[in-house]
């Protein structure tokens, strides 16, 4: 259970990125965080594992107050939170296996990691995860030899081998094509179900959020303006999150994004944009 209370972040430049966010994420829930660029989505996620230091407020994961931990305790807390990044953030000159095993860094000592002598159990788990995402034959390839979708799957393995209680996912599909985006989102959702993980997924593709998340939180200028099921995302709600002008742009974007096949295109055109319902979106795939 993740419990966020009054989370505020003011950057050194003076920008108030988060204005006292309150948010509870129960175990096993996959939550999507949507909102326009600059709304503070990335800041929320980075304040949870303190890659960004919150200015005030509290973040508690299973009753451990994260904002007050010293550096050693913070590292132990970070092990329990797997993070998946926009643009994958794999260390490009390390092999796929090294990237996955780097998820175990919080559990092994420096010499073990330096000499790449990870415990056999970790290596078994790494191979199991890689074969789960269909990449076990790529273990010794360098990360920069992989395609975008493959890299993001390695990123997912790196997060999962930490054996986390919570997944923090920052724009996982930002640089992927529509089909790969769906595959990656489906994979994240399935893995969360398999492992009873809760996840916070930052995503600016409203349609993908509706398809794969059971709860949607809309963020606007550092404040929560919507919190509810995907079916509740009406035109009025999206207008509240993105603003009037941006909202029309989002509908256009949905129309352009949707057509994987000609049929989908026809459906998208036949439907009025206001009825962005989850069933229809799920039906696209």
């Amino acid at each position: 259970m993740l419990r966020i209370k009054g989370l505020t972040k003011r950057y050194r430049t003076g920008d108030l990125a988060l204005k006292g966010i309150d948010l509870d994420v129960p175990d096993g829930q996959v939550m999507a965080l949507i909102g326009p660029s600059g709304a503070g989505k990335s800041t929320v996620i980075r304040c949870i594992n303190r890659l960004v230091e919150p200015t005030s407020g509290s973040v508690a994961l299973n009753d451990v107050e994260i904002t007050r931990l010293g550096s050693g305790e913070l590292r132990r807390a970070r092990r329990r939170m797997g993070m998946i990044f926009q643009e994958y953030a794999l260390v490009e000159r390390l092999s796929v296996m090294e990237n996955v095993l780097s998820g175990r860094l919080g559990y092994v000592n420096f010499w073990q990691s330096w000499l790449r002598k990870f415990p056999q159990a970790d290596i078994d788990e790494a191979f199991r995860l890689l074969s789960r995402v269909g990449l076990d034959h790529m273990a010794n390839k360098r990360a920069d030899e992989l395609s975008g979708g493959q890299r993001q799957r390695v990123g997912i393995c790196r997060a999962l081998i930490q054996n986390p209680e919570l997944l923090l996912v920052d724009e996982p599909t930002a640089s992927l094509d529509p089909k790969t985006s769906r595959q990656i989102m489906r994979l994240i959702k399935e893995l969360c179900e398999e492992r009873k993980l809760s996840a916070i997924i930052n995503i600016h593709d409203v349609m993908l959020a509706q398809m794969f998340a059971e709860r949607i939180v809309g963020l606007q200028l550092g404040a929560i303006v919507y919190d509810g099921p995907p079916t509740g995302l009406t035109a009025a709600v999206l207008t509240k999150i993105y603003g009037e002008e941006d909202w029309s742009a989002t509908i256009r974007k949905v129309d352009e994004d949707a057509p994987d096949e000609a049929d989908d295109n026809a459906i998208a055109k036949a439907m009025p944009p206001a009825s962005l319902e989850r069933d229809r979106m799920a039906g696209l795939n």
């Binding site: 594992n49 890659l51 590292r75 132990r76 807390a77 970070r78 092990r79 939170m81 993070m83 990044f85 643009e87 953030a89 794999l90 260390v91 490009e92 000159r93 390390l94 090294e98 780097s102 998820g103 175990r104 860094l105 919080g106 559990y107 420096f110 990691s113 330096w114 990123g155 790196r158 930490q162 923090l168």
Partner: protein, 267 residues
């Protein structure tokens, strides 16, 4: 279309806005240059006399004599080589902590300023000046030379390492930090792979600089092939000196091709 719009003119805006400042700076520079050229004493008669002397000097280099002083040449070269190896290894090993400390994106401000300061000081003295100082300190011989080259390597390599770390992709490093890694693990997994190829290339480049410098610091008493070269000049054995110069050129060329090959291989 009846109305003719005036063509909009565009000119690149000048670097210095004020026309007065622009012209006076240009004129001032021109006047200074003219004065400086006038004050440089050029004695054309002496230049004329010098030309045949130079020709005789160069002619004395041929044919290069590898044989007469072969024992000294081999001894000097091998001394220079081990000085270079030892100084490069020590220098690079010591420059790693300073380089990491001098990278603004990963070091806290006080550490950053201290390390930057140290690197600036160790780079501000030319190798010859360092060598004179260390020869006075430790006496003649290769030890002073090794210390000189090590100090010079720290300044060079530390600065370039710091700048390479500052240019790295923070996303990759951030991802490693998010796994709960310790600081050393973070450096090893998030930073080192990103800077390694360039650092290997620069290490080889520094090796080749150190070898060439070892020839110069020998002249002021730092040991190595420079001492042999200096002796050859002092005894007017220009043919032996030519042989030494050719050997130096050969070794530098081997370093050049070797480092190019190795860089391609690690990339």
């Amino acid at each position: 279309m009846t109305d003719v719009a005036l063509p909009r003119r565009w000119k690149k805006p000048p670097l210095i806005k004020s026309a007065f400042l622009r012209w006076s700076l240009g004129l001032g520079a021109a006047i200074y240059l003219a004065l400086v050229i006038q004050t440089t004493p050029v004695n054309w008669a002496r230049v004329w006399e010098g030309i045949p002397r130079g020709a005789r000097f160069i002619a004395a280099f041929f044919p290069p004599d590898f044989v007469t002083r072969s024992a000294e040449i081999i001894e000097g070269i091998s001394e220079s080589l081990w000085m270079t190896v030892v100084a490069t290894v020590i220098g690079i090993a010591l420059s790693v902590p300073f380089g990491i400390g001098a990278a603004k994106n990963i070091a806290p401000a006080p550490v950053y300023y201290f390390c930057r300061g140290f690197l600036a000081v160790s780079r501000s003295f030319q190798e010859i000046i360092l060598a004179i100082f260390f020869v006075k300190l430790f006496g003649f011989g290769p030890f002073a030379g090794v210390v000189t080259l090590s100090v010079a390597t720290i300044g060079f390599y530390g600065k370039l390492l710091a700048e390479d770390i500052e240019d790295m992709d923070m996303g990759q490093a951030e991802a490693v930090r998010a796994t709960g890694s310790s600081w050393l693990q973070w450096i090893n997994y998030g930073v080192q792979p990103q800077v390694m190829p360039r650092m290997i290339g620069l290490g080889l480049y520094r090796f080749d600089i150190n070898f060439r410098e070892s020839a110069v610091i020998g002249i002021v008493g730092g040991g190595g092939i420079g001492a042999t070269l200096n002796t050859a000049f002092d005894r007017y054995e220009f043919d032996s000196a030519a042989a030494i110069l050719l050997v130096i050129i050969g070794i530098v060329m081997i370093c050049e091709y070797g480092s190019g090959y190795l860089r391609k291989w690690v990339q």
